[in-house]
């Protein structure tokens, strides 16, 4: 199971987990929504309602639900020229027609203007980034440029309906905070921002938030990389967006950074927006209450499974080109840990190290001297970007990077398809290797 590609969905999916069959009923729209749909408030809000109705009908939403905040993913690599042209059309509308109606924040961008030349990014990439940012600002979007908005901007509250557009931010908000969101890709997050509404389906509904699958975890992850590995194992076992895994056996305390790595990996390997961890997450005070009806038989995940997942990202030799800490961006605490590990050390000239965080955390780290400690080693702190959303393939080619080491299971999953040979290891082993100029310190889980 460990080395195979994502599993093919078994036939039981037709009975369990998937949404009910088509009812053929139209969505109930308010007078205001119908007016927006008819174009009474301009083409931006008309587009938004068309998008909401099209997606809502596809998932048999009865109506829309008011959302309190939006998180939008629109890095220039994903946007493409057509997405950018679309945003610029909206940005050119009169102010009353184009401004977002609820607080709207952005996911990481594709270019850090303080670092892009050093990384080998092109002026064309920087230009796309400038244009996208200008368009968003014209819409009234707040450029937070972070995927850890649940740690660093405004964490939503249990029961709060929101529209989050990054798989990692969505799974954290749903699972750890008890807020309610589907994966809202850029075009739909933008529609939610322009109207303050989203279709009421999926994880906005009580009945979709119940556990469907039970894992009994006998492993206890020792570091963030192993928390990610655990998320990867569960993610690989998921068969559809609608499956809600419940993980028993993991007692408190679990920290924000640990559950962030777990969730980001689960969402990345499985396209999964919600999990429950009885005793840890708010909608599962105990195992029984995570399910409707009897607790299903559990599939066990032990230390050997975690070790095997880690071992599946082991290199064939000790060559090392680049170490990346990102996906998700580092919290202030992770920045502190990295500064502690690098304090007084010097990276091998053969190895580059990048650490990505949000602009707000970067400012705090600057103020507290953490950035200076990290960069004195030769590492680079990146602000407002995330490695896989910033033309990772082209950066790798420009710098001759192939062998990449990270403590993020999510990033090793994604970058395998981008021409890298990724290695998953603890932050400690990553730092030790970057200093040594070769991969080392993989002992514990190997």
């Amino acid at each position: 199971m460990i080395s195979s590609p994502l599993p093919i969905a078994p036939l039981l999916q037709w009975g369990e987990g998937a949404p009910a069959p088509y009812r053929g009923e139209p969505m109930n729209l308010t007078d205001h929504e119908q007016a927006m749909l008819a174009g009474a408030e301009g083409p931006a809000r008309q587009y938004a309602m068309e998008q909401i109705v099209s997606v809502g009908r596809f998932f048999d939403a009865k109506d829309t639900v008011a959302i309190s905040q939006v998180h939008i993913m629109a890095d220039p690599e994903a946007l493409g020229p057509s997405g950018l042209a679309f945003l610029e059309q909206l940005a050119a509308l009169p102010k009353a027609q184009r401004r977002v109606r609820v607080p709207t924040v952005t996911d990481p961008r594709g270019v850090d203007f303080a670092a892009y030349k050093r990384l080998g990014q092109t002026e064309a990439m920087a230009d796309l980034e400038r244009r996208a940012t200008a368009a968003f600002e014209a819409l009234g979007v707040m450029m937070t440029n972070t995927c850890i908005n649940y740690q660093s901007v405004i964490p939503p509250v249990k029961g709060e309906h929101i529209a989050f557009g990054d798989t990692g931010s969505s799974i954290y908000a749903n699972s750890v905070l008890g807020a309610r969101t589907n994966f809202e890709g850029g075009p739909s997050a933008l529609a939610a921002a322009l109207t303050g509404r989203t279709p009421r389906y999926g994880f906005h509904l009580d009945e979709r938030r119940r556990g469907t699958t039970h894992f009994e975890v006998t492993a206890r992850p020792h570091d963030l990389a192993e928390w990610g590995a655990l998320g990867a194992i569960v993610g690989r076992a998921m068969t559809s967006y609608w499956e809600v895994p419940v993980l028993s056996g993991l007692a408190p305390p679990v920290t924000s950074d640990e559950i962030k790595q777990f969730g980001a990996a689960l969402a990345s390997f499985g396209s999964t927006p919600l999990f429950h961890m009885p005793g840890v997450t708010p909608e599962a005070p105990d195992l029984q209450s995570a399910f409707d009806g009897p607790v299903p038989a559990a599939r066990r995940i032990g230390d050997a499974d975690v070790a095997a997942l880690m071992a599946s990202y082991r290199p064939k030799d000790d060559k090392l080109d680049v170490v990346v800490f990102a996906a998700p961006q580092l919290s202030l605490f992770e920045m502190r840990e990295l500064a502690g590990l690098l304090d007084g050390k010097r990276l091998s000239p053969k190895v580059a190290m990048l650490a990505a965080t949000s602009p707000d955390i970067k400012a705090a780290a600057d103020r507290m001297g953490l950035t200076a400690t990290i960069e004195a080693s030769g590492a680079v702190v990146l602000s407002g970007v995330c490695f896989y959303q910033m033309y990772a393939r082209e950066i790798g080619q420009a710098n001759g990077w192939t062998r990449l080491m990270s403590n993020s299971a999510k990033i090793v999953n994604i970058l395998g398809g981008y021409g890298y040979e990724p290695v998953l290891a603890s932050m400690e082993a990553c730092v030790e290797s970057a200093v040594a100029g070769r991969i080392t310190g993989l002992g514990r889980s190997a």
Binding site: F58, G80, P81, D166, F183, S188, G202, I414
Partner: protein, 140 residues
């Protein structure tokens, strides 16, 4: 099953976005993500572990299992349509919101949730009529 026996067969799934189209089926039991599985400039499947690796999806009616991957696909389907490097329609066992949002944004025909495994009953090369409003896929 011969081609003749297949003609006239019709499967009803869940209605979705996009206009009625006809085209040739390209079928696999694999999953689908625009960002991770495709080379968008060449119009071919590029992920080495995908059953359709090397195959062109341009102008085909793609019949696959479930939607996977991250959120970027929501933007990318429209880019593919505008560059003329898109499939004619997406027929999946199970779409996820990202695929539905991307298809709505691109106005790309999408149908899912059939009573059978659609990848097991439709063969590559069959000519299909896809009617998203009715939610039907027919062999013609």
């Amino acid at each position: 099953m011969s081609m003749e026996a297949g003609t006239g067969r019709i499967w009803r799934g869940h209605p979705g976005p996009g206009a009625r189209v006809e085209g040739e089926a390209l079928v696999a039991a694999d999953n689908f993500s625009a960002r991770y599985d495709l080379d968008l400039t060449k119009g071919i499947f590029s992920r080495p572990t995908h059953k359709l690796v090397g195959e062109s999806y341009v102008g085909k009616i793609l019949v696959l299992n479930i939607a996977k991957g991250g959120v970027a696909t929501a933007w990318m389907l429209r880019e593919m349509v505008e560059r003329g490097l898109a499939p004619k329609a997406l027929i999946l066992n199970f779409a996820n919101p990202i695929m539905a949002q991307g298809a709505a944004f691109a106005k790309l025909p999408l149908i899912d949730r059939f009573p059978v495994d659609i990848t097991a009953v439709v063969q590559t090369g069959r000519r299909l009529a896809v009617d998203p409003e009715a939610g039907t896929v027919a062999v013609v």
